[in-house]
């Protein structure tokens, strides 16, 4: 029978299945960070259970870590205690940990792929909703809560209910100036925040196939923002070229065996999906969010919408509430909205290609006077590569602040925060109220738009600067 890639990866991980029960799935890779794991390790200790597979468990410090002065102890005592707790837990249970200052340390969804740990056909989980990122490799990857983190630590499995299969096809070819971030923001405009609930999505079509691995990770990263359990992209030569030679990728004869297997991880002709969305990629212009959930998006060329234009009462109410919080007036051109802060980073857009795109815009230009700008590479390796390419010099010459790796202002668990009323152009994934600091106002954009906005002072695309 013709199968989707979703079913192929799911089926090969079923340890136990019984009628009317969730399936027990084996987990190939469990990524751990300091925020969602302490109570899970406590649970193991309380029940006297061992960690079943420390060799399939990898930890990093990312959410709390400062992005400046990292040779100093973490100043916030509560953040420091959480990081210290992770270090103690990893030491006690024998888990490999990449600590602040290690070149392999970074955002959990950046380091898994760049170290070659994330591979096609795997199941990957983490106590973090953006685990969907790893689906870019044709892995089945999803975020879990702390109870499930403990479950994986103890059993290396998870009980999972069947999901709908959702096909998201992006046809045609992207216009010059549009990026993977614009693709996923456009998808969010089409699905809204709940359109993927109860489903696993496969992103497909010529636009997706033409994306680099970094671009595919950006798209899969935001699957959870429309509610999908996971997002997947079939592995192909782009995937294999990215993986070959990375530290944890198979080598020699095993590489050849893996390739043979990975090439089979494609949706068969004739396989059916439960839900389908089709977008015309040639119509996807640079996008940004205007509201307080990621479904509230528009092309940058648009005006702030009027809540009355929404037919659904809940959407109308949400739009009115969002404009009030965001301090925006219906009808204002988005390009006229002034920005205080630009954040380039996060598990969505902090990889080398993202930094290259932003640096290409910044080169030879100056950020607007008074603008705060943070460029936060996703990992120590990304930082080192960017510095080897001279990107940090381009950024600092243009007036951007070049920082150490971590989650940073994506969720404001470290010192990088918006003050009340401040407005950011951010390459992250969530524009929720207070996400980047209490009272802060977040607009999600691509790295190129973020860099152009830093220079223009109002929302801008690179083309607007010419």
């Amino acid at each position: 029978m013709a199968k989707t890639i979703i079913d192929k990866v799911w089926d090969r991980h079923v340890v136990h299945a019984a009628e009317g029960e969730p399936s027990l799935l084996y987990i190939d890779l469990h990524l751990v960070h300091e925020v969602t794991s302490p109570q899970a390790f406590d649970g193991l200790r309380l029940s006297g259970r061992p960690l079943r597979r420390p060799d399939l468990t990898v930890a990093t410090e990312d959410h709390n870590v400062p992005t400046a002065n990292i040779d100093q102890p973490i100043a916030d005592p509560i953040s420091r205690k959480q990081v210290d707790t992770l270090r103690a837990n990893c030491n006690e249970f024998g888990v490999k940990l990449y600590s602040m200052g290690d070149i392999n340390q970074g955002i959990v969804h950046v380091i898994g792929p760049e170290l070659g740990m994330t591979q096609p056909g795997m199941t990957v989980v983490c106590g973090d909703s953006h685990t969907s990122t790893h689906g870019a490799f044709g892995a089945l990857a999803f975020g879990i809560g702390t109870s499930e983190v403990e479950h994986v630590l103890a059993t290396q499995t998870l009980q999972q209910s069947a999901q709908d299969r959702m096909a998201i096809t992006v046809n045609g070819e992207l216009p010059v100036g549009s990026t993977a971030k614009d693709v996923v923001l456009a998808i969010l405009g089409a699905t809204d925040t709940g359109g993927g609930i109860g489903a696993i999505a496969e992103f497909r079509g010529p636009v997706i196939e033409a994306l680099s691995m970094e671009g595919r990770m950006t798209v899969c990263n935001m699957s959870i923002e429309f509610g999908a359990k996971a997002g997947m992209i079939a592995p192909d030569d782009t995937t294999f070229a990215y993986l070959e030679g990375r530290p944890h990728a198979p080598k020699g004869a095993e590489w050849e065996a893996a390739l043979d297997d990975w090439r089979s991880l494609r949706t068969d002709d004739g396989a059916t999906f439960d839900r389908e969305i089709i977008l015309d990629g040639s119509a996807i212009a640079p996008h940004m969010t205007w509201g307080t959930n990621p479904g509230q998006v528009a092309p940058i060329s648009a005006n702030v919408p009027n809540p009355d234009q929404f037919d659904d009462p809940a959407a109308r109410d949400a739009a009115a509430r969002a404009l009030d919080y965001m301090g925006l007036t219906a009808g204002t051109p988005l390009r006229d909205v002034p920005v205080d802060t630009v954040f380039i980073g996060s598990c969505t857009n902090s990889r080398i290609e993202d930094l290259r795109a932003a640096a290409a815009v910044a080169e030879g230009r100056q950020v607007k006077a008074g603008m705060r700008t943070l460029v936060v590479p996703g990992s120590g390796l990304v930082k080192a590569q960017a510095e080897a390419e001279g990107l940090h010099t381009i950024f600092t010459n243009a007036g951007f602040d070049w920082r150490e790796p971590g989650c940073s202002m994506c969720l404001a668990m470290n010192p990088d925060k918006l003050a009340p009323g401040e407005r950011s152009a951010s390459t992250s994934n969530r524009n929720f109220e207070g996400r980047q600091g209490r009272g802060g106002r977040t607009h999600l954009v691509s790295p190129a738009v973020a860099a152009a906005t830093a220079i223009a002072g109002t929302f801008a695309t690179p083309a607007d600067l010419d």
């Binding site: 027990l24 109870s147 479950h151 499995t157 207070g434």
Partner: protein
């Protein structure tokens, strides 16, 4: 977790859509390494505003939270469930839940009551009109009832989740009953996956 069969009481109407887990428990609270003490963090930014419904004394003592569609979207933080429970809620009613939040709820015995839009709106209007409106959620039968407004509706729970909520079962202990199958599975994994 504690078994839960019936949740009976009054409700707080949180009449807005897309209540994400960043609102339920802001990220500053996630730095704690304990599993308790989150009740003060529940909706802490909104509670600082005077007109927020959770500050309305008419709803003091309620043990059911009624939200709009897409309740609990966003971050996987289980702290959102802990905060809601530790504040005193035993069930949340919404037409649609964020999937990770819903899953986390069932692991802690917080009953996610996913009802159709009309039922959710009727309950919301009912408790807005009468904060003393009594609501009964029956986990075994999968029903939600508010006799004073003539409302009786059903909600879906998978048989497995229903069984676990009713019996307060530990997922890990149940999975470990399949340990021999996990052992066998591990012998069949490709060597390059270690």
């Amino acid at each position: 977790m504690e078994p839960v069969a019936i949740v009976q009481g009054t409700a707080v109407p949180l009449d807005r859509s897309d209540v994400d887990t960043d609102q339920i428990i802001p990220s500053d609270w996630l730095k704690r390494v304990e599993r308790t003490g989150f009740e003060k963090g529940l909706f802490s930014e909104w509670r600082d505003g005077e007109d927020f419904v959770l500050n309305d004394e008419q709803y003091a003592g309620a043990n059911i939270l009624i939200g709009g569609p897409n309740f609990g979207t966003g971050s996987s933080r289980e702290h959102a469930v802990w905060a809601i429970q530790q504040f005193g809620f035993a069930a949340v009613i919404s037409p649609r839940f964020g999937p990770i939040f819903k899953n986390n709820s069932t692991k802690n015995g917080l009953v996610p009551v996913e009802v159709d839009q009309a039922t959710a709106e009727a309950l919301m209007a009912g408790v807005q009109a009468d904060p003393t409106l009594e609501i009964t959620i029956d986990v075994e039968r999968g029903t939600v009832e508010a006799p004073a407004i003539g409302l009786s509706a059903t909600f879906d729970l998978s048989p497995t989740i229903r069984h676990r909520l009713l019996n307060g079962l530990d997922d890990i202990a149940l999975t470990l009953q399949q340990e021999s199958k996990i052992d066998a599975f591990e012998t069949s994994r490709p060597s390059y996956m270690a």
